[in-house]
Symmetry: C2
Subunit: 76 residues, 2 copies
């Protein structure tokens, strides 16, 4: 079973990577870029026996830092 | 206009981050994890005047390393 887990910074948390992308894009001459935020896309291949509670525990214990990040699980 | 850009490693490209996640999850006692691959999710906020060709150029010039990565643009 394929799962996609999206890990994104919570609103209000400073995103230096995003800022760097904004500056780099304008430095390359691209106009109209008003904001950029960077997150992680983790594609997991798990056995069908793995249930939602276990996936949630994987996210909370390892894949996302729930102090500053949100995560969303999607079955691919 | 909000865009979501998914940058993922091309199939066959070694993914050390993914391997590290696999080992860490099994080390935490999670069974059934058969594979993990890590990519980037970049959320861009751009003016409505920015067209698809410009977004494509942003991806090719900065956001993705097209030698080893694929990218997919989605309007949020």
């Amino acid at each position: 079973m394929k799962l996609r887990i999206y890990v994104t910074l919570k609103p209000g948390v400073l995103d230096p990577q995003g800022k760097a992308i904004e500056h780099a894009l304008s430095g390359l001459g691209f106009a109209g870029v008003e904001g950029a935020r960077v997150g992680k896309l983790i594609e997991l291949d798990v056995a069908d026996t793995v249930d939602d509670a276990q996936v949630d525990a994987m996210c909370r214990q390892l894949l996302a830092n729930t102090v500053i990040e949100n995560y969303r699980v999607e079955r691919a």
